[in-house]
């Protein structure tokens, strides 16, 4: 498993697309807030900074750029994780060796996570560390608590985007289809959700982006909008987290051993 993860990480960090996205995204989404936090030190790291924003800082985790770059990165990193193995037929070489379909899938998933987490987990943690190390107040307990919650949100975000990308990569031989598919899988339901939420607000849960944002709210101690059905929200959350992996597993199993 470690071999596959290492290979994905090595290949990704040498990929121009990934480097460009990490650089531009890193500067726009992470570096600017970090610089701002240094120039305008906060009293402490709060949930407000992370999801609601302050007069000097945009909402960090719920920022539009964070979302767009996360999706773009997920599309680029995950698009060839499995599709390229179908495309060059090397898929069969994995299973002629002591690798079972679940291990193959988990290895690919963790490989994708190892790259996407650089943007969705490591950099937010750097932001938290910067804010805490420059904070003017003495309430470090609250700051570290928010940092812990950010770690949780980062892990969840990485999981969320990687799972969806992996599923689309398992469905096609073409990297481009998988990449575009990942992008569309996030934005098309959001578009539909926006249209139909005029009639019923629960339609918002069709959008993985909305589900992710509500999840941030819950993690940082805010409520989800009162008119959104909480049970439906949890169903949507688990569907977006687990269904892609279940589908990926079924597709791999069918391709690997024909069942």
């Amino acid at each position: 498993m470690f071999v596959v993860i290492k290979k994905i990480l090595n290949t990704s960090v040498r990929s121009k697309g990934v480097i460009v996205l990490l650089l531009i995204g890193g500067i726009l989404v992470h570096l600017f807030p970090i610089i701002t936090a240094v120039i305008f030190p906060q009293e402490k790291l709060t949930a407000e900074i992370m999801v609601r924003g302050t007069p000097t800082l945009e909402p960090y985790m719920r920022g539009e750029l964070f979302l767009i770059f996360s999706i773009l990165l997920a599309a680029v990193v995950t698009s060839d994780l499995i599709s390229s193995d179908y495309h060059d037929n090397s898929f069969i070489l994995y299973f002629s060796r002591p690798i079972k379909p679940p291990i193959y899938m988990i290895s690919k998933f963790l490989g994708g996570i190892s790259v996407i987490s650089l943007f969705c987990f490591v950099m937010p943690m750097l932001f938290c560390i910067t804010v805490i190390s420059t904070q003017t107040g003495s309430d470090y307990w609250t700051s570290f608590k928010v940092m812990g919650l950010t770690a949780l949100a980062g892990v969840l975000t990485t999981f969320f985007f990687t799972a969806m990308g992996l599923m689309l990569s398992s469905m096609t031989k073409r990297k481009a289809y998988a990449g575009v598919g990942t992008f569309v899988a996030f934005f098309a339901p959001t578009l539909i959700a926006e249209i139909f939420s005029e009639f019923n607000v629960n339609w918002r849960l069709l959008s993985p982006i909305n589900v992710l944002h509500y999840t941030y709210d819950l993690i940082y101690g805010y409520d989800i909008p009162h008119n959104v059905d909480t049970s439906l929200f949890y169903v949507a959350l688990f569907t977006y987290l687990l269904l892609p992996l279940v589908i990926t597993y079924i597709v791999i199993q069918r391709r690997a051993v024909g069942k």
Binding site: S90, L93, S96, P98
Partner: protein
Amino acid sequence: MSGTPKIQARDLLVRYGDVIALDSFTADIPEGIVGILGPNGAGKTTFIRVLLGLTEPQRGTYTINGDVSPSELHDIKDIIGFMPENECLKGGMNAFEMVSYMGSLSGMSTNDAIQRAHEVLDFVGVGEERYREISSYSTGMKQRVKLAQAIVHDPEILMLDEPTNGMDPEGREEMLDLIEKIGMFGKTILVSSHLLHEVEQVCRYAAIINEGKLLRQGNIEELLRPEGGRYRIKVRGSKDSIDGFVRDLKRDHNVESRIDEGEQATLVVKGVEDSDELLDLVRGSEVQIRYYRPDIQSLEDVFIETFEGGEYLGD
């Protein structure tokens, strides 16, 4: 066949929709280099896929290495090497990266995989090109790299699916030489091919399959040995004396063919149980015998004969 079979298949049934790929397939594969012969679509690749656990049979069972059943197959996959028929090499990698990666996937440590990758690439004849991207390789080079990735972890059993596919005659000879060399290390090598002379050249055992069924199996020498006392006789004499001799011969034997060349004729006679009897017949006639020897078949003859016979083993 001597000793315990290395691979045993019993009553395997594999269906792809309405197509039956393996039908009550039963075979015993001994150690050594074994040819799996059959036309395209005969079920050769499906048989290998079943052995690798890549296709699950709807019925039947098989054992590998004596007693390993399908459920335990995963645990022994590191003793199996597989060279697929189709292109399977990862794009964007060079041969060295590919082979060492495959070694690592087979459970070797990174250092061992690197060292071994160099060794096997040397062995298959990929020199400095190993650092060039695989997509720039010729078909022959790719076949060599495919073989290298199959043997990088030094497997006990090697399954080669059409190993000379797409290679030029020189490349084929070299590939067959490599297979022979690997066989010398005491490996069991399954060579699936529809090219009969290749199998005849390197294998010591062959199984002929068609439409998912085993038609015939045995040592190559046994398969090539003429059945039913088939002999080739060349006689010399006048046309009348040869005609007379053939007439006498036909009384107790089956003369399969006669080729006249001037005052000579070459006859293929079947059903000769006692050579003395036949030689007595020559002595009593007016023909002179030029040569008399068992009619050696080629694997192609055996193949055609087997297909014409059409009787399946294991039915």
